[in-house]
Subunit: 454 residues, 2 copies
């Protein structure tokens, strides 16, 4: 059967509004937010509104051996949702129902297209909280968050997406539908397929329903901002803080980031500082903010400021949140996402700086310091091939340095296509072979987001 006939068949299987072959629409689903990678042109885009429609699309794709690229909001940074030539992009963006919020047992059941921020808002009204807060929370979907095991700022205390996924409904590569996990916080009945699907970037199945654990609303927080005249001092403060406190946020910006933010929006930041730390404590009023302050001072902070006012704290964090947009104004950016054991944070930043010097690339680093998770942004001029080559080299070398320090090439963004070539270096061939066998077990035809991750 040729492609036209296959498309005609799909058009008979799903309502007209689900299927789109319009060139402009198809083009708009070709890329996620990653740079590089050669996204192919999809055969079509399917935007189902129901599980049954997802099933129909998957069964059809399996029958015709057509690759499926599942997609949430397309806000991924690693190419996990970028299209493959001749694929069906299966966008879950129209499955936006919050099925249930159970107030007493504190869980929510949602469709994958619900935005992270929508669930946050809906739970907040009930005095509850869904913690994971990737920077994209206002526009990324929970399905996408599950696919990448998204992190964020609060995970230093409250964990990442996988820590909140109690159960899933998944359409497998043959179109069959299974449930994993459940609604209880503890559950050891059989293999933990839930956690296997989380972070699998759409390569093992299509998630059609998610049961998420919720928490009580977070207590009010105090915010601390500190500047340091050396990275070593900032790193030492981080080490002290994580060992003696339980901060609900602990972020770092290097000098290049501070300067970019200040240039983007003057807010009187100390552009001579080597690094800034942002910390939050939501422990009940007591010793913790003082201990964080003392840790910063003991490490040689040049200034420390603490506020109990939430609005003022938010204002400070605004500087951290501005880092990405500010840096993106300076050129094309490659967002890296390495993580190391937290005692090696300073060493990792040092190596990033060395890579920048040695390659001649411009690199600015922000990160979730408390988790040892850094986002070096490599800046380049997209019109200058030599500059782009430098950026690529820096990007690659930074990953190698993370591996050398016993770290990971991706803490929270995923492997996608961007980092696929580096996965063997981190995992080793034997471990990768097992990963491949797992993939084949779930997707013997190789149609689920092929060419991604492994």
């Amino acid at each position: 059967m040729n492609q036209a006939d296959a498309l005609a068949e799909l058009a008979r299987l799903v309502p007209a509004e689900v299927l789109s072959t319009d060139a402009d629409i198809v083009e708009s689903y070709r890329h996620d937010q990653s740079r590089w990678g050669d996204a192919g042109t999809p055969l079509c885009v399917a935007r189902p509104k129901s599980k049954d429609e997802v099933e129909s699309v998957v069964r059809w794709a399996a029958k015709h051996r057509i690759p499926i690229v599942p997609r949430g909001a397309g806000s991924g940074l690693s190419g996990g949702a970028s299209a493959i030539a001749g694929c069906v992009v299966l966008s879950l963006e129209r499955m936006t129902r919050i099925v249930e919020i159970q107030r007493d047992a504190m869980y929510a059941v949602v469709e994958p297209g619900v935005l992270n921020g929508q669930l946050k808002a809906a739970t907040k009204e009930l005095g509850l909280w869904y913690p994971p807060d990737p920077a994209s929370f206002e526009f990324s979907t929970l399905g996408g968050n599950v696919a990448t095991n998204a992190g964020g700022l609060c995970c230093v205390k409250y964990g990442v997406t996988v820590d909140y996924v109690l159960g899933l409904e998944v359409v497998l590569a043959d179109g069959s539908r299974i449930r994993t996990g459940g609604r209880t916080r503890k559950n050891v009945a059989g293999y933990d397929l839930t956690r296997l699907f989380v972070g699998s970037e759409g390569t093992l199945g299509v998630v059609t329903e998610i049961t998420l654990r919720l928490r009580p609303a977070p207590p009010p927080a105090q915010t601390l901002v500190a500047t340091f005249d050396s990275l070593a001092a900032a790193g030492q403060a981080v080490a002290h803080i994580v060992k003696s406190c339980d901060p609900s946020l602990l972020e770092i910006m290097d000098q290049a980031s501070i300067r970019a933010v200040e240039a983007h929006q003057p807010m009187d930041l100390d552009t001579s500082a080597a690094a800034m730390l942002f910390a939050r404590s939501d422990a009940p009023k007591g010793a913790e903010p003082r201990r964080i302050r003392e840790a910063c001072e003991a490490a040689g902070a040049t200034t420390v400021f603490v506020t109990e006012e939430e609005w003022e704290g938010d204002m400070f964090l605004h500087a951290r949140r501005l880092a990405f947009p500010a840096l993106e104004k300076l050129g094309a950016t490659l967002v890296d996402d390495v993580a190391v054991p937290v005692h090696l944070l300073t060493e990792m930043i040092r190596r990033i700086e060395r890579v920048a010097r040695e390659t001649g690339a411009r690199v600015a680093t922000v990160g979730h310091a408390g988790d040892g998770n850094l986002h070096p942004l490599v800046l380049y001029d997209a019109k200058d091939p030599a500059d782009e080559a430098r950026a690529q080299k820096a990007f690659r070398t930074i990953m190698m340095e993370a591996i050398a320090l016993g770290g990971t090439i991706t803490g929270e963004h995923g492997v996608g296509t961007l980092k696929k070539g580096f996965l063997p270096l981190q995992l080793g061939e034997e471990s990768l072979a097992v990963q491949r066998r797992v993939k084949e077990t779930f997707d013997p035809l190789g149609i689920m987001n092929p060419g991604k991750v492994i």
Copy 2:
């Protein structure tokens, strides 16, 4: 090759002290702590001291298609470590090295035979803490804790074993060795095989090294004990507490348990109470203990007692910890391990009581109330077949009730052989088929703890 020749071959592959065929020793490795289940007689027991020796045993077993039953301390309650006729029991009890404790990044690398309590003690000396605290923590191994994804009392706030496993080294069924995960808190490089191995009860591979996340030493805690004249009232208090507080422990005992403890060791417990709750708050001194007290009072607690003294709190918790030994004095016991969403806790306890009435079995319930995880202990006279039959019926019916409430047949003890027949009822055939495919992927010869879990 016959068994004698195979044994002779193994004797050449490993040092003499590793292999044992002595009938008394073999017999002592036949059972774990579970009742029922027809454990077979092992061909031999292997107690390796190194990864290489584990590899040798597994390669030998694979070559001869001899089933491997991995085993820690043999303290499991579900038959996961019970022997299979003609198997090699692969005991990891001699791999007891704490390889590394990294103070600053707060992780530990251990061999699987290290006791949970040993790691707790070693980390405590450094001002650190390994939270998971199964009741067996003094004599169960970390390898066994990983195999069953063990929980405990503190998990209502601090999570279960899987929440602490950063990485593993595993010898696969063919004798090859892989590493999963790493040493960072965030890591999304490839499929999360670490979490797939955790809780897999030795059916996917043999864990030879574990990297565990640690936390700073826990702050001092206040302890609260409350009595209730109805289960409904206690359940209501639990629901309030988990929604408004973050207790570090929240346990329940029903009347039968209270009476058994008081009979076992008189300590002036109110034997007329329908239920007792035990709660701990390790939030910095402040409002939380008061809020827990208020939640109990609002739910109609007949007495509430709070203490800041750790020794006094420990004394109260002693009553909870005595429940198992006290009940075991009354006859043979079957320890069940169901979990339900926490708003259905009271309903689950009611159903347990109804099952006891309808089957005529004696059932006493204690549990991790904050997680909705209950341990109904079914008592019976092991010499009275009719009584044992009643106990079996009650045990089975309680699992069915948990499934009916959207819960799980096992919250933290595992499936083993004891609950294997019930797994299909909870998971459904399609999901179970996927579990079987995963098993076949890792163990195509079917030699890794065959007949367990699925």
